[in-house]
Structures are given as structure tokens and as C-alpha cells.
């Protein structure tokens, strides 16, 4: 079954939490630290990402890249 992973550009993230909201796998959370912009950036946490790209689709900052495959 398809495996996925994402990378989040912590510098671009504005912590809108939309990716967290749409991720079916709860694979994203906000970090505790602040980024230079003063936001707690989203970070990729879980292993069960399916690479469905929903997060990337909604990210207003185009901060997310998605990978898929075995």
C-alpha cells in the first residue's frame, strides 16, 4: 500500500493549521518553537502518511512538498 511523506518549509509556514485540519492521517502538528516570522510552524510527525497531498493542496504558503512510493 502506498507510502508517503511530506516536507514543510518551516520558514514559510504561518501556522494556519489548515494542513492539520485536512490531513486524514493526523500526520502534522504545530511545533513548540517559534519560527523567525513568530509562528509555531507545522511539522511532519507521523509515519502513516499516504502522500494524499491534501495538505499541500490547501497550504496557503505553498510550504509543503509531497513524496510517494515504496
Amino acid at each position: 500500500m502506498a507510502q508517503g511523506k511530506i516536507t514543510i518549509d518551516q520558514g514559510l509556514c504561518k501556522a494556519c493549521e489548515l494542513c492539520i485540519q485536512v490531513c486524514p492521517e493526523k500526520a502534522i502538528e504545530l511545533a513548540d518553537h517559534l519560527n523567525p516570522k513568530g509562528y509555531h510552524p507545522a511539522t511532519f510527525v507521523a509515519e502513516n502518511c499516504k502522500g494524499c497531498s491534501l495538505c499541500a493542496m490547501i497550504c496557503p504558503e505553498v510550504a509543503i512538498e509531497v513524496y510517494r512510493g515504496r
Binding site: 517559534l34 523567525p36 516570522k37 513568530g38
Partner: protein, 183 residues
């Protein structure tokens, strides 16, 4: 003598209101004053700041502070943006909870205050702006602390009068902190 204070933070930190309190206080003490918010492009959730000019004798010519005598820095973006604007010998009040960097230059006084901690452990995080104002007034003595305490209701205006108590309390937290912790 004319003294200019620049206060800066990110939207929602209530720094504009801190500045307003200072301006009201100074006016009520019969100083000439101007208050100028930075407006426009900054609107988008980013940094907001305001400049308060206070003068005992003269009308104020320019409300802008090319090199302020005092700075109040509530977050790190403001720090990065403003660290070099202060006049040499100026005093910089820093909210250590949000400001990670420190000014490189050595010609200014830095007063560090864990504003959010103080606020959280008392009235609540949203009143951080009054905490730092308390410390600021206590240190600078630009105006008398009582002027703000006595007139908080007037300053808040009808709609917000109900927040009088908490604002005063937070303001005092700042005062006391400065008295206790600072040399």
C-alpha cells in the same frame, strides 16, 4: 526636553494600547504630546508599532522618531527590524519571552523583562502589554504611574471600561517587578 518612545510588537499584542496609555498619561500631566501609529502596509498580521513624543515645554514638531530615546520591543521581528534605530544612549525594553535575539550594539541600555510569564502568572497573557508598560513607566518616569492608574477608566473609554481592573493590575505587576528585580 523632548523625548520620543517607539513601541513595537506583532498584531494582537496590544502594543498600540500601551502607547495610548502613555500618551493619555502625558497629556493629563499637561505635557505636549503626539502619538503616531505606523499604518498601512503593516496591516497584514505583521509588526505594528507606534511612536509617542512627549515634551514639557514646546509643541512637538515631528511626531516621527528618527532615533527614539526609548524603545519597547514585544517580539523578535520588531527586534530585528528596530535594533539599530534607537539613539545611542537610548533605553530598550525587551519582552524576553518572545524576543530571542539581542541587539549587537553596545551603546544602549537593555532592560529585559519576561513579560508574558509575568502576565500569565497573574492577570493573563493578553495583558502582557500593560505589564511591560508598568515596568517602562516605573523605570523611565516619563509620567507618574498614578496618572495611568487613576485615569484607566477614562483612557479605556465606555465600551472597554469593564477591563479597568485587570489593566491596572497588570500595570502594577510591571511596576512591582521593576522595583523588585531591577537594580
Amino acid at each position: 526636553m523632548l523625548q520620543k518612545t517607539l513601541m513595537s510588537g506583532i498584531g494582537g499584542q496590544g502594543i498600540l494600547f500601551s502607547g495610548m496609555c502613555l500618551a493619555w498619561g502625558a497629556m493629563l500631566e499637561d505635557f505636549h504630546i503626539t502619538y503616531l501609529p505606523a499604518y498601512g502596509a503593516e496591516m497584514r498580521g505583521g509588526v505594528t508599532s507606534c511612536t509617542i513624543a512627549i515634551s514639557p515645554d514646546d509643541e512637538i514638531a515631528s511626531p516621527v522618531a528618527s532615533s527614539p530615546d526609548y524603545l519597547v520591543i514585544m517580539d523578535n521581528q520588531s527586534m530585528l527590524r528596530l535594533q539599530n534605530t534607537g539613539a545611542s544612549g537610548s533605553e530598550m525594553f525587551i519582552n524576553t519571552n518572545m524576543v530571542t535575539d539581542r541587539p549587537v550594539r553596545g551603546d544602549i541600555d537593555v532592560i529585559e523583562i519576561p513579560v508574558n510569564d509575568l502576565a500569565r502568572s497573574s492577570v493573563g497573557d493578553r495583558y502582557a502589554n500593560m505589564v511591560i508598560l508598568g515596568a517602562f513607566v516605573q523605570k523611565t518616569r516619563l509620567i507618574k504611574p498614578m496618572t495611568i492608574i487613576d485615569n484607566m477608566e477614562l483612557i479605556l473609554g465606555k465600551q472597554k471600561a469593564r477591563f479597568k481592573a485587570k489593566n491596572i493590575e497588570a500595570f502594577k505587576v510591571g511596576l512591582d517587578y521593576y522595583n523588585k528585580e531591577m537594580p
